[in-house]
Amino acid sequence: MTPRLLQGSGAIADAAILAGCRFFTGYPMLPFTELLEEMARKLPAAGGVCINAQSEIEAVNMALGAAATGARAATGSCGQGISLMQEGIAELALNQLPLVVFNMARGQQDYFQSTRGGGWGDYRTITLAPKDIPEAVAHTQLLFHLADRYRTPVILYGDYVIAHTSVGIEIEALDFGPLPPKDDWALDGTMSGTGRARQTWTWARGKPNTPGPGPSAAWESIAEKYAAIERSEQRFETYRSEDADILVVSFGTTSVFVDRVVDELREEGLAVGSFRPITLWPFPAEGLAEATHGCAHVLVYELNAGQMVDDVRMYAADRSVIRSIGGVSQDDSGMRQGDLLNADEVRQRVRQAVATPASARQ
């Protein structure tokens, strides 16, 4: 197969459809808009439905309804629109419904939103942050699998760079193994309002003839599920970190710039490596602890006021060597990262941090 030149949004749409997504809805908001347009163009031909909702709140609740029938469903926005979806995402978690949420973010300021969530209740959202389009294609397919496997909403943390960059790419179906059947929970309309009717959630009390476990037991069960996810779904990547004295931690597309700088500084003789959480949640705690062991500098380069650094502080081998070297960086258009998404800036900040005496650190 000859590669095709595809923009990131189009490649993600192809991957979603290849993964079996048959219901997609959203409200236009750059840089998510192109993904919605691509799905609107392509999904009907695959036998699916794409709806341009009237708001993000409407979109997430439409998607919830589709997910409740067992359909592979997805929605998305940028971080601002996903703020409006928080109630729906929490309800999806509570109802144990699978949904893929695409955050085509305008920057890196949605780390807390993705990893902590803004809805109520004890839930988490598995969040994958691809570094480039080929990885976004793989992550999209993996997320549909994970959503079904764990019956939970999941997030792809993309951005303007992934949405708007084009690459020559072949999109191939990935096989992640078998999944449990959906026929014991999906609402199929075949049982009406009798005592046998299915429910997704009414405080887990069930019905008179089929009592449920109750809210506390239901939440305990959900909590156990997220604990299992945390144990088994951590993903990360290291680059030239084996002998690194200086480790730069970054996520998403920023990591491509960091790795370029790692190569350049290695040529200059600096023992630099990088660490990239692929899953923002569950954060790869053990991987980071191992990678940071013995490092004199752990430098966190994220384009926000300091969000992922909280997780790095929790899990690094030595908190005293951690330093934030990124910062808020927004393009004048407001649609994407600004000047700090730049290899020269990364290089300069790494050099400066390494040259700063420990006593002068924050």
């Binding site: 000859t2 760079v161 084009s166 690459v167 020559g168 597309t253 190569d263 393009d331 290899a343």
Partner: protein
């Protein structure tokens, strides 16, 4: 080996279409390609830029770069941001029908052509970027004319298909303006330092 091409102009000149045409031609030439276009909401009259990374192996470069080996310049307004990133030995195609003033650059080979003028004479007044792209391909040795012309058909949506032949002709006209490659992109250094 990876090399970068920068394209700059103002909205409406066809910079993004030229970038996509070059990228498709490179894909069809079995090269690895990445394109990052920047145009935000500035569809007409504002800055429009594109960065194309081309390589002969899976790309490791980020989508925006500090150094480039070739450029297509359709307007003087945003030339300085391109100029400062060109390594010694680069090749630049400039549309002199639009570009005003001195280039102030002696770091490589400038191919100055009346791209928009040539396109207008061909009855394709908005095909200046295609003429310039044809010239850039000839001057840099990046891709051949056949792949470029095939790409001109592929990049247009079906409702614009009637313009594909005119664009392919504009590419050929630009290609013909440069007799031989003047600065092979693959021979230029990766970085200035």
């Amino acid at each position: 080996m990876e090399r970068a091409v920068l394209l700059t102009g103002i909205g409406g000149q066809g910079v993004q279409l030229a970038a996509r045409t070059l990228a498709v031609a490179a894909v069809q030439s079995d090269l690895e390609v990445m394109v990052f276009g920047s145009y935000a909401g500035l569809m007409r009259g504002g800055n429009t830029d594109a960065t194309i990374i081309i390589g002969d192996a899976p790309l490791r470069s980020p989508p925006t770069v500090a150094w480039a080996q070739a450029a297509l310049v359709m307007h003087h307004e945003y030339w300085s941001g391109v100029r400062d990133r060109l390594v010694p030995g680069s090749v630049v195609v400039v549309d002199r029908s639009v570009f005003k003033g001195e280039m102030g650059w002696a770091g490589g080979t400038a191919v100055e052509i009346e791209a928009t003028g040539v396109a207008t004479e061909m009855g394709n007044g908005r095909g200046g970027a295609m003429v310039a792209l044809g010239a850039l391909a000839a001057a840099s040795g990046l891709v051949d004319l056949d792949h470029l012309q095939a790409a001109a058909h592929e990049v247009l949506p079906s409702y614009r298909a009637e313009h594909a032949k005119a664009n392919a002709d504009a590419l050929a006209a630009g290609f013909a303006l440069v007799a031989d490659p003047v600065a092979l992109v693959w021979l230029a250094p990766a970085r200035a330092q």
